[in-house]
Symmetry: C2
Subunit: 447 residues, 2 copies
């Protein structure tokens, strides 16, 4: 494999340039910015590399599919997404989010870690094989969707409509990071999600706050409704919410125990001085991966400017996300949320649902896991950290688990990548290693 690794090194400057070109193109699914252009860019790049590529339409943004035929019988799928998170708040970026900039060995841009860097790395690995060997030992199938950051509302249907063409033996998931001590994390599952907007109306218009004595407040009613969902003990109060939460089994506990979670480093990274409920050690790790959440992404009502404006707001809204663990079902949680609000006197609160996703897990004994771990050891010179789940979400169930396909996450991010935040970045050295890792994985997976 030294020839391929040398080729990757020789091409590295050009690969960074391609990543910068990808990041220069905004592609914000939530805001509908640059999506068509980005899909074309991915499609053209796959075709240019020799894939049979296609823009597959969906009810939303198209999925870009690219297939490289290999000599062996197996098929390796790479799942990525070409959309990115909104870049706001813009004022907190040190360089503009869509003007990728290298500073001190880091490349800064919205989407560089989540997830354009992984897409470019995987393609560079395939190109290196083709350039040096003229062929691939496995079929490689790129599935690059445009709606991951808005909850992949159409990927399940896409997978259902194209089961034949999506047949594969393993999938490398879109994301992956080094931990705060620089060790590669390999992820065997994702949490699910239910994201909802809660909307309350009270008066017909904002009123003078003197009327607060006798007119109900949308802001207060939202506050009370939220309070009925979770209390300061951090336990979700929706009846039945925890019914389907599966406890970690023996293998899970072994993986958790082997996970040297860098509490001090993470506290510093988060900018806090303690974890929730004062947790530490095994309890902290277990909570991070095996417990569901109920998070307020945003809450807004009334005046937020400087000084006083004594107003009784007519409307209030909150955006929540529930991260769900196996075997929770987002549709079941939604039903329980509705029933709970109704029972608490909040039947008038409107729930708007954003694309639910199921949690998913891959069997730790699957051969794909062994191949990803073995190739990582070669590149990174150390045993990677294998985690049974990750705290974040993706459509792994919809694309893979639902069809029996194992999926494993490994990627080029690091603990300071600031995904979804200002100054998102990757380290160029991680990017280079990520390309090497994927090239070695293609070899390891083929046998």
């Amino acid at each position: 494999m030294d020839d391929i690794l040398a080729y990757i090194d020789g091409q590295f400057e050009g690969t960074v340039a391609r990543l910068q070109a990808f990041c220069r193109q905004p592609s914000i699914a939530a805001q509908g910015v640059g999506m068509g252009e980005m899909a074309e860019l991915v499609h053209g790049t796959l075709e240019g590399a020799g894939a049979r590529a296609k823009l597959v339409p969906t009810a939303g943004y198209p999925v870009v599919v690219g297939r490289f035929e290999g000599t062996g019988p197996k098929t390796l799928m790479f799942y990525n997404h070409y959309d990115v998170q909104p870049p706001e708040p813009l004022e907190l970026w040190d360089s503009p989010p869509f003007a990728p900039e290298v500073r001190d060995g880091h490349l800064y841009a919205r989407g560089v870690a989540d997830n354009k860097g992984n897409l470019v790395a995987r393609l560079a690995a395939v190109e290196a094989w083709l350039a040096i060997r003229g062929e691939l030992p496995v079929n490689v199938l790129f599935v690059v969707e445009g709606e991951e950051e808005i909850g992949s509302p159409n990927l399940g249907r896409f997978a259902e409509d194209h089961t034949d063409k999506l047949r594969a033996d393993g999938c490398v998931w879109e994301s992956g990071y080094k931990d705060t001590k620089g060790r590669l994390e390999i992820l065997l599952g994702v949490k699910g999600i239910l994201a909802v907007d809660l909307k309350v109306r009270s008066a017909g218009r904002d009123l003078h706050s003197a009327n607060a004595a006798i007119v109900e407040s949308a802001a207060w009613r939202l506050c009370w409704a939220l309070n009925s969902l979770k209390g300061p003990d951090e336990r979700v109060r929706i009846p039945g919410f925890y019914d389907d939460v599966r406890q970690p089994d023996g293998r899970d506990r072994a993986m958790l125990a082997a996970w040297d979670y860098d509490e001090t480093g993470q506290l510093a990274e988060f900018g806090v001085d303690r974890f929730v409920l004062g947790l530490a050690g095994e309890a902290l790790k277990e909570r991070l991966l095996f417990q569901p959440t109920c998070n307020i992404c945003g809450v807004h009502a009334g005046y937020g400017g400087p000084g006083i404006k004594t107003v009784l707001p007519a409307g209030a809204m909150a955006k929540l996300d529930f991260r769900l663990v196996p075997d929770q079902d987002p549709y079941d949680v939604l039903r329980k949320l509705r029933e709970h609000l109704d029972a608490g006197g909040f039947a008038d609160i409107e729930i708007e649902v954003e694309s639910p996703e199921f949690p998913a897990r891959t069997d730790p004994d699957d051969p794909l896991v062994a191949a990803v771990v073995a190739s990582a050891r070669q590149v990174y010179g150390a045993q990677p950290v294998v985690l049974p789940l990750m705290a974040a979400t993706g459509p792994m169930y919809e694309l893979c688990q639902c069809w029996g396909l194992p999926a494993v996450g490994a990627g080029i991010g690091w603990s300071g990548s600031r995904v979804h935040s200002p100054n998102e970045n990757v380290r160029l050295q991680d990017f280079r290693q990520g390309i090497q890792h994927m090239a070695l994985l293609i070899e390891a997976f083929s046998t």
Copy 2:
């Protein structure tokens, strides 16, 4: 008095033009817009009318004082303010807030009801006396501050520094309205206020919401803190909050009983189908005037845009106002709020205080009240509604009650004046009657 009333009629067009000129000048204290210009305009107008006028500096915006010497020994003070509420949200105005427009007998502009219309009306009444009689039967003292809408932070100090010059026998308060059935309301007191911003920080920056499993949330902590202040029973939970709330006495209950509060009209005006807690009748009226409030003027954290942004917000803030009733003390309430938050585990929540004001009441048997009521009966042809308090706030304690000066509110607004809201307006017919009322009051008060 017919000669004076006829003069008021003859001059009415010019008086409306002056009111439009006053409204054309923005004067938003909260945003620091146009304040110097407006103070000069008021000062110049008072001088032009023959007053000895002065811009009295304070730590904030100056107070404009204008004194007309009269023949009698008594002094009548008119308290007004030249600042207005911020005009936002601009998109809900049918005509621009600072481009006063007459439509269908209404004059629309920010500040026209609260409080420039009353200022212009009172000055027009004085001018009519001077034009027709050549003299006033009482001394008239205009006190026009520029910070009423931001809580009059410097008026108490101003009154303290100028007690001699502010000596008077009665004060006509800045505001007043007709009720939904068109009856003039006369107000004998104001609620006090404590307005605070509550600020919570958790992480050093907004985080990916996957971290919600293990990192405390500023948004949740604010929600829990708010919930600890008031529950769905609408009762404030701060220990001792109600200690100093004085129950209405016999005279208060008589005034409440005589008050034919138009519940149906108010519900329609507010755009709601019931009052808080389903209240009606005497209980509703008593709550409106004699119960303090804890209102959320605004609450903001995290993402509020379209679609999903799965973020764990690092900061959250709420703007609250407590309307206080006799004998509550805003500084005492602030201390209790702080203690309550501390005791509830919210010692880290920062409280920023905006200019507290005390509640105030005038004795219903004061001669000023009789004079205002008698002159109102003449102009409006019906018994006015006398209310022991109003639900809103003003610096009546700081300017008047603290120095033993009785104060009574009566003005040109109506129930649809939409003060503090888009499309603020007065009816020109009410404006005309308000001028007449003040002219007759000068006569009634002099005897």
